[in-house]
């Protein structure tokens, strides 16, 4: 009975819950809370993206497009048309999920760099449209977004958002861990490991690739909506190429095929630039250098590489 509780997944969830619960006592100012909230939001997106990239072996260089679509749908319907934010968020997720479903099948026939190109292209197209259609989106200057409210209760303080973000992160982690450790999760990993082997044992690989693509898009859409309400401002840069690449870096740096790796990756990449601003002009140089060094010395990403070292140490 005790052994069931000491499984890595339970220990990990517990550690995460503890960190989330204890962190507010450590964080000193609004700025740090803001980073924590943004880490949590990014982590949720990256957990979803990791399912696609790390576990199923696909690639998406345009995932910020889904963030943008979710965000702008919420922003526009709530701020301009007065929709209830919770409804807008759910509808956005459904629409983005449907969109992802429609493009998934043709796009996922592509492999490797061609798939990367297609997702890159789609992401850029989304951000260009968001940029150009300023009558709707406010264009490159962005648009202000009404705060999130549900049943008359408005989320305005950082503390409130912190608990929302933290709670959702815990939920996303649990869902992701569940999925990985199930027949569906094994099918996804098999698609990555050997698509033809998966096919001959009965895995409809196309269906599963589409499934995980849609799931990761929905994760992104939800975060996009919530982020827009949290920051109360949204600009097309949020859906842009840089953001998409950042998300992929978070997946790879933290560790592919590792839910906790996704969280670590998000944490590091969200907070590192803040730490590096002290270096002013040298910020980008050092950032690039850190990226290269991490990948050279920990090629599987931080969490899997450290896990590997630990295992070899105990063998």
């Amino acid at each position: 009975m005790m052994r069931a509780f000491l499984t890595p997944r339970f220990a990990g969830m517990l550690a995460l819950a503890l960190v989330i619960a204890v962190l507010p006592a450590v964080l000193q100012n609004n700025f740090q809370f803001d980073i924590a909230i943004r880490v949590a939001f990014n982590a949720i997106v990256v957990i979803g993206l990791n399912l696609l990239i790390g576990y199923t072996g696909q690639i998406s260089l345009g995932h910020a497009g889904f963030l943008g679509l979710g965000g702008y749908f919420s922003a526009i319907t709530v701020t301009t048309y007065g929709w209830p934010p919770a409804v807008a968020m759910v509808v956005a997720a459904v629409i983005v999920g449907a969109l992802a479903f429609v493009i998934a099948r043709p796009i996922l026939r592509l492999k490797g760099h061609y798939l990367a190109m297609a997702t890159l292209g789609l992401g850029i197209i989304v951000s260009i449209v968001l940029n150009q259609e300023s009558w709707l989106t406010g264009g490159p200057d962005g648009m202000s977004v009404a705060p999130f409210s549900i049943g008359g209760y408005e989320l305005t303080t950082q503390k409130q958002w912190y608990w929302v973000a933290g709670g959702l992160l815990l939920l996303a982690t649990w869902l992701s861990l569940n999925l990985i450790d199930s027949p569906v999760g094994r099918a996804l990993r098999a698609v990555h490991g050997s698509e033809v082997a998966a096919e001959v044992v009965g895995v409809d690989t196309t269906r599963f690739k589409v499934l995980v693509f849609v799931v990761s898009a929905v994760f992104a859409s939800v975060v996009g909506s919530l982020s827009a309400h949290y920051v109360m401002f949204l600009s097309p840069v949020y859906a842009g190429f840089f953001h998409s690449v950042e998300l992929v870096i978070m997946v790879v740096l933290g560790g592919m095929a590792s839910t906790f790796g996704a969280i670590i990756g998000a944490a590091i990449l969200t907070s590192l630039p803040q730490l590096l601003t002290v270096l002013e002009d040298y910020e980008h140089m050092i950032f690039g250098l850190i990226m290269m060094l991490v990948m050279i010395f920990l090629p599987k990403g931080i969490v899997p590489s450290l896990q590997g070292l630990l295992r070899r140490g105990t063998k």
Partner: protein, 291 residues
């Protein structure tokens, strides 16, 4: 009417030639290592920026250009030696992230060593406009097109007529087999990075008189060059060139006849359509996996 059409043709081909050079760089490195070098665009930036600053330091233009290309080539070699070669048994994804990091590093270094402003170079032979079939073009355009043609021809000769070039081709088809017949694959990889960097730098020098350079131009150029290489079919040098020119033309004609705001979007729409019908690009290898 015709004049306008020809105008767009030239501007499309001019930009397209630069995309082609960047795309070629992608293709070269991909062929040697199956890695996509996302720092490729930065080589273009380094070519232009280095030339600007070397000239500002007093060097005559031809010397500055040569030195800039050499410096950039060295950066390419350093990237391979210090970053790519250090990763043993890395997956392609890891290497891609390393090159992205390298790109960020190079941009950051450029920001520090140069500055954040836009810079331009004097055109090679003046800027007296020429009239071609009703279109007004600058002599620099002819330089870009002319030198690109010369480079492509030189590369063609290199790959088909020299032993080293053939070794590079062999490595691209089957690295293991190449190694077994005595090809130094590590050296080929080094050479590919150096050559790609030089190609990018030359592109940067050629285009800066027309389109000012700045420490960030590499990003979008990298994306366009990658798109060119994919459109043409990854692994095909000829495809990269064709892809680059096509991309340039789509942009120019979209900007001219439809809307300049959507020129980039249109390019990507076309690429997506091509990939939908030809999943390996226009001239890419279409193979069945052996199981």
């Amino acid at each position: 009417m015709l004049g306008e059409f020809i105008q767009y043709l030239f501007s499309g081909l001019t930009n397209g030639a630069i995309y082609a050079l960047v795309g070629l760089g992608f293709a070269l490195i991909y062929n040697a290592s199956h890695v996509i070098n996302f720092a490729q665009g930065e080589f273009v930036m380094l070519g232009g920026m280095n030339t600007v600053f070397l000239m500002a330091a007093g060097l005559p233009m031809p010397v500055a250009i040569m030195l800039a290309v050499i410096i950039t080539a060295i950066v390419g070699l350093a990237l391979e030696k210090l970053a790519v070669e250090q990763t043993k048994n890395a997956t392609v994804v890891t290497l891609i992230i390393i090159t992205i990091g390298a790109g960020i590093f190079i941009r950051g270094a450029a920001q520090v060593m140069f500055d954040k402003s836009f810079h331009t170079l004097p055109p090679f032979s003046g800027d007296a406009p020429l009239n071609v079939l009703g279109a007004t073009i600058t002599p620099q355009t002819l330089w870009v097109l002319g030198i690109t043609i010369v480079i492509v021809a030189a590369l063609q000769w290199f790959f088909t007529r020299t032993l080293l070039g053939k070794a590079v081709l062999a490595t691209s088809h089957n690295p293991l087999a190449a190694r077994l017949v005595g090809v130094n694959v590590q050296f080929i990889l080094l050479l590919s990075f150096g050559l790609s960097a030089a190609l990018g730098a030359i592109g940067g020098v050629l285009i800066t008189p027309i389109s000012p350079t700045n420490f960030e131009v590499g990003i979008m150029l990298g994306v366009k060059g990658f798109s060119a290489a994919i459109l043409g079919g990854l692994g095909s040098g000829f495809g990269a060139i064709a892809g680059g020119l096509i991309l340039g033309l789509i942009e120019a004609y979209t900007a001219g006849y439809i809307s300049s705001n959507y020129k980039d979007a249109m390019a990507f729409v076309v690429i997506l359509l091509v990939l939908f019908f030809m999943p390996s690009g226009l001239f890419g290898k279409r193979g069945t996996d052996r199981v």
